[in-house]
């Protein structure tokens, strides 16, 4: 049985224009299947992060075609892309990017509130459930800036999961964490893939970490050298 493609890139080219015109991605084509844990690996400057932001729909300035859930999303309006991101993509960044003015619970709830399909009470319940997965439920009412780095990253993963996205994208999710926390976060990723068949796409420069994923896409100078 052929697995369903969650995201597919076809011949993606990307140029930076300042200071001079340089090509950062050359004819990048690949796909991620449902339930797969894929890492994109390469040295810094190889274009892996750039690729991730194109896949995330936040960067729309590229050539080629991008499919999410078998739908062409290249050339969609930014309003529509925002809705798509909200509904189908979860993000985990190197830095935690929680909104400090809100409590942990509210931070997790925001994507759900934005999607606006469930009542506030339901969303609160779901958010608490997500926090429980990471054993963060006791911190639910704290302000986001009262947490430690590892805790913040766990909260941001919970937030990424809030709308049950098709795919979770992460850019160096452990890059800013110590060994213990980084193992913890990676363990959570693994668990999500195994237990919930969550599709994952992770960008990293850490060979060790990449080796633990299902599949590694290696990049160099804007090209995929091995998939």
């Amino acid at each position: 049985m052929e697995k369903k493609k969650v995201i597919e890139a076809q011949k993606i080219n990307k140029f930076f224009f300042s200071p001079t015109k340089t090509q950062v991605l050359r004819e990048v084509s690949f796909s991620v299947n449902k339930g797969e844990f894929v890492s994109v690996m390469g040295k810094s400057g190889c274009g892996k992060s750039t690729l991730l932001y194109i896949l995330s729909t936040m960067d729309t300035d590229y050539e080629g075609k991008l499919f999410l859930d078998d739908q062409l999303i290249t050339g969609q309006s930014s309003e529509k892309l925002s809705r798509l991101r909200n509904e189908k993509i979860g993000f985990v960044f190197q830095f935690h990017y929680l909104i400090h003015e809100f409590s942990v619970l509210e931070n997790v709830m925001i994507p759900g509130l934005k999607l606006n399909r469930k009542s506030r009470e339901e969303l609160e319940y779901i958010a608490l459930e997500k926090l429980k997965v990471f054993e963060m439920q006791d911190h639910a009412l704290k302000k986001a800036n009262q947490l430690s780095g590892g805790q913040k990253q766990r909260v941001s993963i919970a937030r990424a999961l809030m709308n049950d996205p098709l795919i979770i994208m992460s850019d160096e999710p452990t890059g800013n964490l110590d060994k213990k926390n980084s193992d913890l976060v990676f363990g959570i990723f693994r668990e999500l893939v195994v237990e919930f068949q969550q599709t994952m796409l992770m960008v990293t420069h850490d060979l060790e970490l990449a080796a633990k994923t299902d599949r590694t896409i290696e990049m160099e100078d804007g090209r995929i050298i091995s998939a």
Binding site: S49, Y53, S56, M58, D59, S78, E79, S82, R83, L84, R85, N86, E87, F91, F93, Q94, F95, Y97, L98, I99, H100, E101, F102, I110, P111, L113, K114, L115, N116, R120, R159, D171
Partner: protein
């Protein structure tokens, strides 16, 4: 739900920067307070100054003007009809100053729906005889009750009871200036010689002070009956008919209309007192300009604070966009912040403005020229509060518009990668 989320985020951003938000709101409050106080005070003063003339002036005055006849005998002659006639030194004809058939005219005017009231008047020229000095005098014979109802006569009677003019025969309310010159106390008698040569003794029952010195030296008031008696005329003798309308803007039309129907002269207030209108218009224009300048300045304050907030909260904006907020959602968040500042600041400004107006109204302001005024006049018209409120929202909206435009165009990739 969508908007409640936007409001929630806006509130969180504001409470995170509560001091700056308060400073911005205080700026709006201050400018609206000044706007209300300035306009209230300025227009109170305007109304007072205009009222000084306009309240006491008839909107339309009917009278017979003394002027040369336009049709001289030569013009009527058949023989010189086709000639170009030049006549020098024409004198005014002896025409009657009293208004013919005035009772019918008054009845017609009173039946008109535009007319608030009609007061007949007789102007009598004469001299007060004080020892061997003659003081010139203009006596107005008035219908006391109507005069008070239409022209607030009693406001300007500073001593004595104005109704005595009606109830006691041969009584007079002296102009304050004239009374001071003659040293006439209440209850004294003054002797007057009319232009026709009749001598009368009049009992002083009050003083009249209009605030315009020239008027107070010359003008005195007697009742209509006394005036008719003084010049030996019947009770149908009236020289002026004063009309007050509900809307004084209609006065030029009404003056023209009845002047042609009755064949008498008519003056309307707008033609006679055009300069008062112009003066008060310019004064309120200046106060509006100052008020709006204040608001625009506070608008720049809000603009600055929002700009700063956006720089500080770039991360938050980026993350909101990454998790699915569109550019317009972000724009609404910042416009909401601006409008909340405008609304709260504006509302407080209106309240403080009202309090400031109450304060100004308590400040003593006593002047010889304005006997009825004890404190500064303030206009509490809701119009200014409405304008202030609307303007506070408009300026804050525009102050928030450009920063929010910037926030909406923040590229999340740049922020997230830039770390």
């Amino acid at each position: 739900m969508r908007f409640s989320l936007i409001i929630e985020i806006a509130r969180a951003l504001m409470t995170a920067r509560i001091k700056q938000t308060l400073v911005a709101a205080v700026g709006v409050t201050f400018s609206i307070t000044m706007f209300i106080a300035l306009l209230g005070f300025m227009n109170g003063l305007n109304d007072l100054l205009d009222g000084l003339i306009l309240n006491r002036t008839a909107h339309v005055r009917f009278y017979n003007d003394i002027k040369p006849n336009e049709q001289q005998p030569l013009d009527l002659s058949e023989e010189f009809k086709d000639w170009f006639n030049v006549i020098r030194s024409i004198k005014p004809t002896v025409s009657r100053v009293s208004i013919y058939n005035n009772e019918a005219i008054i009845r017609t005017l009173q039946a008109d729906k535009r007319v608030l009231g009609v007061a007949p008047k007789i102007a009598v020229q004469g001299f007060f005889n004080v020892g061997n000095v003659d003081l010139p005098a203009v006596l107005n014979g008035i219908a006391v009750e109507e005069e008070d109802r239409l022209f607030a006569f009693s406001d300007y009677v500073v001593a004595g009871d104005f109704m005595d003019l009606k109830y006691s025969a041969n009584s007079i309310i002296l102009g304050k200036g004239a009374a001071d010159k003659m040293m006439a106390d209440l209850g004294d008698y003054v002797q007057l010689t009319t232009a026709q040569g009749n001598r009368v003794l009049l009992k002083v029952v009050g003083y009249y002070q209009s605030g315009i010195g020239e008027l107070d030296n010359l003008q005195s008031y007697v009742s209509l009956n006394t005036a008719q008696k003084m010049i030996g005329e019947t009770s149908s003798y009236v020289t002026d008919i004063q009309v007050k309308l509900y809307d004084f803007n209609l006065s030029p039309g009404l003056a023209r209309e009845y002047s042609s129907i009755f064949g008498i002269d008519a003056d309307d207030i707008q033609t006679v007192n055009a300069q008062f209108e112009t003066g008060s218009q310019i004064r309120s224009l200046i106060s509006y300009a100052v008020g709006i300048t204040l608001l625009v300045v506070s608008g720049f304050g809000i603009y600055n604070i929002l700009n700063m907030m956006i720089y500080e909260k770039m991360d938050t904006i980026a993350i909101l966009k990454a998790i699915g907020f569109s550019g317009s959602d972000v724009r609404y968040i910042f416009i909401t912040i601006a409008l909340v500042i405008g609304f709260v600041g504006g509302l407080l400004g209106l309240i403080f403005g009202f309090i400031a107006c109450l304060g100004i109204e308590q400040i003593p302001f006593e002047t010889e020229a304005l006997p009825t005024i004890k404190t500064f006049p303030v206009d509490f018209s809701p119009k200014y509060y409405l304008i202030g409120g609307v303007f506070s929202l408009i300026t804050t909206y525009f102050a928030g518009f450009f920063p929010s435009q910037k926030a909406s165009s923040v590229d999340p990739v740049e922020i997230i990668r830039g770390k």
